[in-house]
Amino acid sequence: MAPIITEEMQEAMQGVVPSTLVTCSKAGIPNTNYISQVYYVDAEHVALSHQFFSKSIRNIDENPKVSVSIVHPESFQMWRLDLVFIRKETDGDLYDQMTLQLEAIASMTGMEDVFHLLSAYVFKVVDIHKIV
């Protein structure tokens, strides 16, 4: 049975607590970084925001497997999601919705001049582990 993103987990995807993204290069070097958005697409898919030309993005282009954390801002419940990259989008409804949410996150964190969505990276959820 495919892992399902619950309503509780969706509340941990509002961008209040930054998520952490772990990627790995083809050569096997892990890379750990923060990511502003883990966006709920549907019960089996999420999208991550691509804002900078980063090592994380280069790694995903080489190796589609990633691990990401999400944290509920009130209960501090935490999940680790194993994801696999499917596609990227640079326009359309998903891109527009993520742009709006990213603007709200930027406003909360004083990053209006820094955060700009370049593309939405869509992933399939392959495993979910509850940490807290």
Partner: protein
């Protein structure tokens, strides 16, 4: 490499801390870190809960590669340390005291920026481990255009 002077005290701070490893199949693995400590010019300690860290311990023993990101809650100043596993042992009383101090300090900062009091204490700590990491590279990761530059001593 040598850890630059400006980062020696930074490592000891009550920052957000998260670690990544990977398996033989190049599957990355996330783990929460509950404190880090400067050891010497090439080494730092990372403290994490073993049972809730998934395949992290297995990955460390298999290939030894580790990266950890630290982020100041006050100004978002962030650095990623990449390197390799040297040793791992159950946290001793000194380590556990360091972790307790870390939790106390970061809780104060989190409350200051609006998060619920005691939230950090919900993270599992049933079997804390102390990882000695040899630092080979450091990258600045403060959110801004052009971030990701390598930091030199």
């Amino acid at each position: 490499m040598q850890i630059p002077d400006k980062l020696k005290s930074y490592v000891n701070g009550p920052h957000g801390m998260n670690m990544g490893t990977r398996g033989a199949d190049l599957q990355p693995e996330y783990a929460r870190v509950l404190g880090s400590r400067f050891v010497d010019d090439q080494h730092i300690h990372l403290f994490f809960d073993g049972p809730s860290a998934g395949r992290t311990i297995q990955n460390l023993h298999d290939n030894g590669l580790v990266s950890v990101i630290l982020c100041s809650l006050e100004n978002y100043e962030s650095y990623q340390f990449k390197g390799k596993f040297v040793s791992l042992h159950p946290s001793n009383p000194d380590d556990l005291q360091w972790i307790a101090n870390y939790l106390e300090d970061i809780n104060v900062l989190l409350v200051k920026v609006g998060f619920p009091d005691q939230g950090m204490y919900k993270y599992p700590r049933s079997s804390m481990m102390t990882l000695l990491m040899e630092v080979e590279e450091i990258f600045e990761q403060t959110p801004k255009a052009g971030t990701g530059q390598k930091v030199f001593a």
